[in-house]
């Protein structure tokens, strides 16, 4: 028994090592990982690493307003003299918080509904779940999210709710496709013949085999949720000023273009870099699982 356990441990460690080896072969994936780690670090440590932590809120410093990038203010200052660099780093907090909250809310219902619909493929349960999911996909996500955020009164929290409400069907669809493909595999049929309960088959046999695509999608989605969140606050339906949200900062800086381009350009570039990082990371994770399947 003990030997078996330690073999299990060793093989798990070996498996992880092999995955890491595959991942580390691609420089782009590594770049993605580095960007993702740095973003998370900056978000967590924002108050300790930025030069002017108080500038995150509604602080006025009129004597330094509209200063171009310099050694005192690396990214320049905004219309009331706040340091754009500090605010951008604080913006990472809101963006990543948005991604974490939305994905935590969305993944469990998405996965479970997809598993159930896929397992009972062809029955009324399948039809019911998938048709409901289709309704949420019948409009471009951003439009539905904007409308829901507007109906709920704009705020960071309501923006998260709005994005979550229209995001789950994508997980349902993904898991549904994988599940209905796995449904006819021998190992599932074998479990069925041995009298395993549907619950056991769904969570014990099918779910572990869906994890690759799910993990890939989660990583890619961090970027997309951040994009959608910043789009919401860009039009004024998400975070409200003075919250240092990247989208809000891009929008308010737009009023001072082109003379004070740095106010909106640096937060805008920050959005792009976060999205790029999680996209590269997601591609890297996908490659691990695709190669493994071969």
């Amino acid at each position: 028994m003990q030997i078996k356990e330690s073999i299990g441990k060793i093989s798990a460690r070996y498996d992880l090592k092999r995955k890491w080896y595959r991942f580390s072969k691609s420089p782009l994936s590594l770049v993605g990982l580095v960007i993702a780690v740095i973003s998370v670090f900056l978000a967590l440590a924002a108050p300790y690493v930025v030069p002017y932590p108080t500038h995150a809120g509604l602080v006025t410093n009129f004597k330094d307003k509209f200063l171009p990038p310099s050694s005192t203010y690396l990214f320049g200052t905004d219309e009331i003299g706040r340091d754009v660099l500090s605010r951008t780093v604080f913006g990472f907090q809101y963006s990543l918080m948005m991604a974490v909250v939305v994905l935590t809310l969305v993944i469990p219902p998405g996965i479970i509904s997809g598993l159930i619909a896929g397992y009972y493929r062809g029955t009324w349960i399948d039809t019911l779940i998938m048709r409901i999911a289709d309704v949420f996909i019948a409009v471009p996500p951003l439009v539905l999210a904007l409308s829901i955020a507007a109906v709920l009164t704009p705020s960071v929290f309501n923006a998260m709710m709005a994005v979550s409400l229209m995001w789950w069907p994508w997980y349902t669809r993904l898991v549904y496709n994988t599940t209905s493909a796995l449904r006819n595999e021998y190992f599932v049929q074998a479990a069925e013949v041995m009298g395993a309960s549907p619950l056991r088959i769904i969570f014990g046999e099918i779910l572990p085999n869906c994890l690759g695509p799910i993990l890939t999608k989660i990583t890619l989605d961090v970027g997309w949720v951040i994009l959608l969140g910043s789009a919401l606050s860009f039009v004024g339906l998400g975070a409200q000023p003075p919250t240092p949200d990247l989208g809000t900062m891009v929008a308010s800086g737009g009023n001072y273009m082109p003379d004070s381009w740095w106010i909106s350009m640096f937060p805008a570039i920050a959005i792009c870099i976060i999205i790029l990082g999680f996209n590269l990371l997601g591609d890297g994770i996908r490659d691990i699982f695709v190669e493994e399947a071969r």
Binding site: A138, P141, A150, V151, V235, C272
Partner: protein, 341 residues
Amino acid sequence: MRLSTYILKRTAFVIFSLIGLSILVFVLARVLPGDPARMAAGPRASEEVVEALRRQLRLDRPMYEQYFYWVTNVLHGDLGYSLVTRRSITADVLEYLPTSLELIVLAAIFEIAGSFILGVIAGRYSYKWPDNLVRVASYIGISIPAFVMAIILQLLFSWTFKIFPTTGMLSQGIQRPPVVSGSVVLDALIAGRFDAFVDVLWHMILPALALCLGAMMQDARIIRSGMVENKDKDYILMATSQGLPDRTVMFKYLLKPSVIPAVTVMGLDIAALMANAFLVEIVFSWPGFSKLGITVMLNKDLNAIVALVLVIGVIYAIANIVVDVMVAYLDPRIRLMERGE
């Protein structure tokens, strides 16, 4: 024949989703906090006035009755009354939608043309520098949100280099042609106003590019992968060994199966175009659907929000059916699979 059955099937399916969507947005607008009658009457109206308005708007009836009343009106082309613009929403939609659609159509044309050209070049010179360039561009393209792209293009090409106009639809001094179709490009052509036609197109280039660049790079990459994958297949080898010229092999045999995945993705791209138009129009102050949309959203005009979501849903559905039909036309396997059922 077969294709028509397929279209019918898809249409029925889409109509079902739209009914669901209409229920969803209607219920959301009614369930969420806020009294529509109070909002319509204004904060200082007396309780009797609000009560009368509530009865007039049938808000005192059960929800399903309200819904059927509303749907009947929608089917007759009456989307309701906007509390913000103080006029019929149908009129608002008819005024603002065409200008947005012309922007989206131009963006779609750019996207399709650009992705084909870049994709074919990258596929033809795979693993050489044009291919690498397209790959890098696609990574950059996917990470730049359309509204950021809009700001960057505006900063570069209209503020710094002053090639394109910064905002708006027509230059000062050029009158808008008489409204016939609602689309300024078409109206200018109908009125024979060549100056307005050129001017509008000139104003449209940057917003359209901002809308489509990201998706264009993505599609180019998909076409490129398809071509690289199919290049080694036996039927291409056969065509080449039979002495067909390179050009014929490439455009007649290689391209068609390689674009199918890209066309499928274009369904999603249309969604992206429509949604991003909301943001890009703001940056360029384009007087389109988003101006209306954002105004009613910021003012919490429930009737109008519900109507706009439904209108966008219908357009999106039509666009998706067109894409599905195109895919079915390009890929005989889909048609034949339907026959097998």
